[in-house]
Symmetry: C2
Subunit: 331 residues, 2 copies
């Protein structure tokens, strides 16, 4: 690869910092700066925040505008929010400048699902300015959508796709341990999930991307979730959960298209004993895949963001889906 991409990082939480660290290690990347709304971070440099001395000259700016006054990135890694509606206001100015964006925003994995009008608007803007935008990650973005889709490449026919992911949240970052309701009364967590104020974002998007990739029109995705209740006191690196409190979630999304059944089942809780990713395809031939231990979420999300950059840069402009790009791979 001869091109060296100028990269900026929008959002400097744990995922954002790991992303910029990984990117900095690639010979085809030149990190040019960071953007964050946290006043405590603005004005610092990425060397201080990441511990990578090579990033000494890379300042953190409070906005895209401030960054652009100094340098124009080719690509922005966007790791800030789960909702496309919120991401839109952050990403739209980048698209306006023709800058490519690779985002961990869960709803951006299939933005047409919840916000078709916003998605169309952003797509049109990208086509005008030459920007490319894609949402990616590991879940959504890989284990429950891209990986099963790739498997169906060897299917003559498919009448069911059933995916199960079990994550031991004790091994994950602090925000995730909190996001799954750890320590809340189960009743309270269930209420928040029902109100769509808690839970794992992106399960419906995975299902929608899967169906879209197979050319199937899904009319109704049913999603439901429950709290996993701690059977004993649990202590992690970041927090404590008492017996009887919430220690995680069990969430499912299902849809049927005629005779075809799709189901995605996610268990993510502290101390989960047998983590794995499992994909079962009912079809000709039938396929039964297991990834023992599962794909480690945080590492993999960061990898997927960075690995997507070279392939995105060669794609036609637009608000894209991961299925529009060539096969994922280490870059």
């Amino acid at each position: 690869m001869k091109t060296r991409f100028k990269i900026a990082q929008f959002g400097l939480g744990p995922i954002g910092l790991e992303t910029v660290k990984l990117a900095a290690a690639k010979p085809w990347v030149q990190v040019v700066g960071g953007i964050d709304i946290d006043p405590a971070k603005v004005g610092q440099d990425l060397a201080d925040l990441t511990g990578n001395k090579a990033l000494r000259e890379c300042r953190v700016y409070g906005s895209l505008k401030e960054l652009l006054a100094v340098v124009r990135p080719d690509i922005v890694f966007h790791t800030a929010v789960s909702r496309f509606k919120l991401a839109f206001d952050q990403i739209e100015p980048m698209a306006r400048e023709g800058i490519n964006v690779i985002s961990s925003c869960e709803e951006l994995v299939f933005p047409h699902l919840r916000e078709p009008a916003l998605a169309t608007k952003l797509d049109r803007l990208c086509r005008k300015t030459g920007a490319r935008i894609v949402g990616t990650g590991v879940n959504p973005g890989f284990v429950m959508d891209l990986l099963p889709l790739c498997l169906t490449g060897v299917n003559r026919s498919v009448h069911g796709v059933h995916i199960r992911r079990v994550v031991n949240a004790s091994t994950r970052r602090e925000p995730l341990q909190r996001k799954i309701g750890s320590g809340l009364p189960p009743k309270e967590f269930r209420r928040l999930m029902t109100a769509n104020k808690a839970g794992h974002a992106g399960l419906k998007e995975s299902l929608a991307l899967l169906a879209h990739g197979l050319g199937w029109k899904v009319k109704n995705i049913v999603e439901n979730g429950d709290a996993v209740v701690a059977e004993r006191d649990i202590r992690t690196q970041y927090l404590e959960v008492k017996r009887g409190q919430t220690c995680g979630l069990h969430q499912r999304a299902e849809a049927s298209i005629g005779e075809i059944q799709l189901s995605l089942d996610l268990q993510m809780y502290l101390g989960a004993g047998d983590p794995l990713d499992a994909v079962r395809i009912d079809g000709d031939p039938p396929l039964d895949l297991v990834i023992k231990g599962g794909v480690a979420g945080d590492s993999a999300t960061v990898a997927m963001l960075v690995n997507t950059a070279p392939r995105l840069s060669q794609a036609p402009p637009g608000l894209l889906l991961m299925t529009d790009l060539p096969l994922p791979r280490l870059a």
Copy 2:
């Protein structure tokens, strides 16, 4: 999909017949004819050969020229030979006409490995005429190259890829049962393998595609093979093997690029007890994938050929690799 592709089938052995049957079932396909060099097949129609009455009007011609006198296909499925050198003379006239070709020719999965001059010549021709050519299948073409590549999409780093495929050849088509040496004295089969006159074709190509997809230059791929010797008399639907005779093969390809280790291990023999496909990626994160029972070879090869058609048709012209196309999926 609005376009209906005109499809012709070159090579009417078991894989070719299954391919044209599957293609005929797709709403986006119009089968227009077959080509075979076997005089017993020429002049028949595909309905007789496949048992699918809808193919009554689709004649078998003795050459591309005879087919072209009647109808021009958009895509030819080519299932005839394993060696690119032999495939070249069959495919070159199609490329000259700007016709797209999807081939099961094992060496076409990475044609630059053994025949770089021919590959360059064919690529140039395609770019001139607008034709697209790609080699695909399940092995090579999926389990030992595309699937592991896709997995590395979630890797921050990789220092080893180790793939193991165990196939119970008793469940496979007759030509494959013979190709693995069934019934030969082990000494004779070993001699044939060493002379490159027997054995599984495409193992080196899988390794080369894998390395290429990761941007690694492989200088030396070491391949070796051995006979698997029957421990008891074996009878399949097609043949008999006595105790002490060859009942299959065990073949390995390996390469290292600096500290990085790649190994592909294939066992394919009659009565293999625990068929599977296993991919182990040593990296960050480590990945340990198993497909229980393995991907059923013949069904999957046929599926891969047909499923590749819509994506190939949207690719830029050239002699392409599967890594140049969007993510594989059911079409």
